[in-house]
Symmetry: D2
Subunit: 130 residues, 4 copies
Amino acid sequence: MGHKVEFEVRDYECDLQGIVNNAVYQNYIEHARHKFLLDKGLDFAQLTKDGIYLVVTRIEMDFKRSLVSGDQFVVVTSACRQSRFKFDFFQEIRRMTDDQLMVKAKVTGASISPNGRPIELNDLEKLFSA
Amino acid sequence: MGHKVEFEVRDYECDLQGIVNNAVYQNYIEHARHKFLLDKGLDFAQLTKDGIYLVVTRIEMDFKRSLVSGDQFVVVTSACRQSRFKFDFFQEIRRMTDDQLMVKAKVTGASISPNGRPIELNDLEKLFSA
Amino acid sequence: MGHKVEFEVRDYECDLQGIVNNAVYQNYIEHARHKFLLDKGLDFAQLTKDGIYLVVTRIEMDFKRSLVSGDQFVVVTSACRQSRFKFDFFQEIRRMTDDQLMVKAKVTGASISPNGRPIELNDLEKLFSA
Amino acid sequence: MGHKVEFEVRDYECDLQGIVNNAVYQNYIEHARHKFLLDKGLDFAQLTKDGIYLVVTRIEMDFKRSLVSGDQFVVVTSACRQSRFKFDFFQEIRRMTDDQLMVKAKVTGASISPNGRPIELNDLEKLFSA
């Protein structure tokens, strides 16, 4: 199943090949993760103000097909605890007209304090409940 | 004369027309202003941490010619006090191979506190000294 | 009146001041113009492929208030012919919770051929019809 | 050893955590790859015009430490043939003041025609010569 956020390609996101630039997919899936967290009651911007930094430690992305100008797509996100301080997000970008898989990603995150120490996020359990 | 910062176009800054996207010029001139400020002893990131927000209140840009992949260019910046709390930056983007004017900009800035009140920047005089 | 497109601030669009970076507003209003054009039957990406380049020649933006993480807003766009080859877009960014004006912009565009000559856009009249 | 490109963090690349946003590292390493290719005689923008699309099919990035405003860093790139149509880039982002490893990446690319078929890049051998 997973949490879903709908998007539409904006022309400024396309590069000189006429397709969405690779780095932009990372923007898309970041936004989808933050919406996912928000739906679980975790506000990324508020956490940052409170001194809890959610950071990405590793990212793996497979680019299957390219989105182009005007494409509508959905980012599907689910999460899984990896250790006490780490969690994995599994994300897929699917084009809406034909449900084709465009990008598949696994993103590992951690919660740290402003000085870089791992901190336990009390509400983290929320992420992994159905 | 003016303060100068050299740049080179990066391919990800080009859009589906194969030229640098308009919004990217705003990135270029922002970076040039921050380097200009730094040369005058004003560190934008440090000021932000100290609760002094330098904000842009108005921008005017004339787009004369388009930069393309691989172009090298210089941003020339000078500043002028407009009022107690406001200052104007005059900026030009010039292609280095032929000194052609690509973009001409006038950017008005203000210094405000986190709650939005104008605050006087003690060191502001530095900006307007030769 | 005007044509409306709704947006939501994404966290990656915010800078180290915790507010939407100035250049990003230019992205927002570009996307709104392209949606406006599309509603009038003019597809920016397709026009580019057909050798008709819609370019921005001048931009004026007044930044009134700052959008922050999570803000929902609408971009309102209308257009007005300025000359045979030039047209003006009037755009406003309004926060949706309280209809506050955040940014006001006037954007002048032209249609040119790949070699930079002005070309007349047959369908341009569409832009200015009610 | 590897090919080196020097950069400096620009303030607009930092997000509301006050550090360089994750997606921006992908911009950095893309620019470094394109400079690497150019040094080998392969011009990405020209190849695109000629109908040869260099695309990224997979990316792995490990984020070790965060770059902040003003940091100077170098991207080190080397390449290795993976198969007839595929090649791997190994890239490191190192902070210049202390040579600390900030980001480590492996990027797999392919050369395809505009209709998505793999095409052999004659000059590909150049990438893997010392």
